[in-house]
Symmetry: C2
Subunit: 216 residues, 2 copies
């Protein structure tokens, strides 16, 4: 009984997604969301404890983009790699939101499904539960951490981002060669290519380590 609800958690999350898509994640405020939904901002507090609670729900919603269904001829390693790449992409899709989500597992639907799928792939790869969990933690720290780091620059338009990288390289290249010999030598290679490529490199290194360890 009671007054019939015009809002719901689902409707609110949908509105938040639309808002993020249109105006960017940093514009996802209680007031803006109220306007988006055509209701008073304080109405949201009937459905969420606070903004953190809301952010977790929105973050979890974006996770639904990750494809968890195992592919036919895909080995465990390829599955793990693909899942991590997609997880990172999903997080980067709403950059500043990721920063709020990554601090603690949401333990909501999509995240649970992801975790289950990743652990299953690892166990398929021959890791026993304890080792699989270690691998899981390592993969998540790298993936989510990488997304957190790249979030800010990923939000920039392509041209601006490249300009930003150029600026960093210039700063490094302008250093005194006596004080910073290694850095000067490395300067032209720093921040080359896309952040996606850098992450993929790091992920492959970690996977190589996993395989090496598993055999030992």
């Amino acid at each position: 009984m009671g007054r019939p609800p015009t809002l719901s958690r689902e409707r609110i999350v949908e509105g938040a997604v639309a808002l993020v898509a249109r105006r960017g994640a940093e514009q996802l405020t209680v007031r803006a969301l109220g306007e988006e939904l055509g209701c008073d901002p304080s109405a949201l507090y009937r459905h969420f404890r606070n903004v953190d609670d809301l952010h977790r729900a929105v973050g979890d919603h974006f996770l639904s983009d990750v494809d968890l269904t195992p592919r036919p001829r895909e080995g465990w390693r390829a599955t793990v790699r693909r899942m991590c790449v997609e997880l990172r992409a999903a997080q980067l899709r709403q950059p500043r939101l990721a920063a709020l989500v990554h601090s603690a597992p949401t333990r909501l639907g999509n995240e649970l499904a992801f975790t289950e799928a990743l652990l299953a792939a690892l166990q398929r790869g021959g890791f026993r539960p304890a080792a699989a969990v270690k691998a899981y933690h390592a993969l998540i720290e790298l993936t989510v951490g990488s997304a957190a780091i790249d979030a800010a620059v990923a939000a920039l338009p392509d041209a601006e981002r490249e300009a930003e990288y150029d600026r960093w390289r210039e700063d490094y290249a302008a250093l005194d060669a006596d004080d910073f010999p290694s850095l000067r030598a490395a300067a032209p290679h720093l921040y080359r290519g896309t952040a996606d490529e850098r992450f993929a490199d790091a992920l492959d290194l970690l996977l190589a380590g996993l395989v090496a360890r598993r055999k030992a």
Copy 2:
């Protein structure tokens, strides 16, 4: 000429460090810092463009804790490992600050010194500049990312943090065994031990991958 300054970037950063040490990083606001320094909050804007600029400076200051001097009998791998562990520890020392710093390299004094030392260690390990940079990016993404993830929980008192981990494990353990078989089996191992240990595990995996790749 002009009115003699009572403030300076250094003095402000010192005040910020004291404030973070005493009241926690989330209390580092322009107003609180003004009170700490006994001046009007708006005075800070004579020395920093905005809070982001201030946060970067404070973040860089904390980096001075990292010991960069190479130890006598230390192999490159041990050096890299130790530097990454110390970098993460330094970032975790002021948790919420890390979240603001990690998005872009500050390219300030301490960070430059760190980068130089890490690249030097890698080159000592036989990595040529391009490969060393790849390794550097991978290590930084893992280390800084890990710090970003663990920052929120690291800020909690020990007892609360353990309670939080317990709560997560309970949530996972309470899942339906048919829908989440792997997760249920893994539940008792998840978030066991300290975040430091989990990071060290991940770092070792990455280093193992680096060594494996270097030989190939």
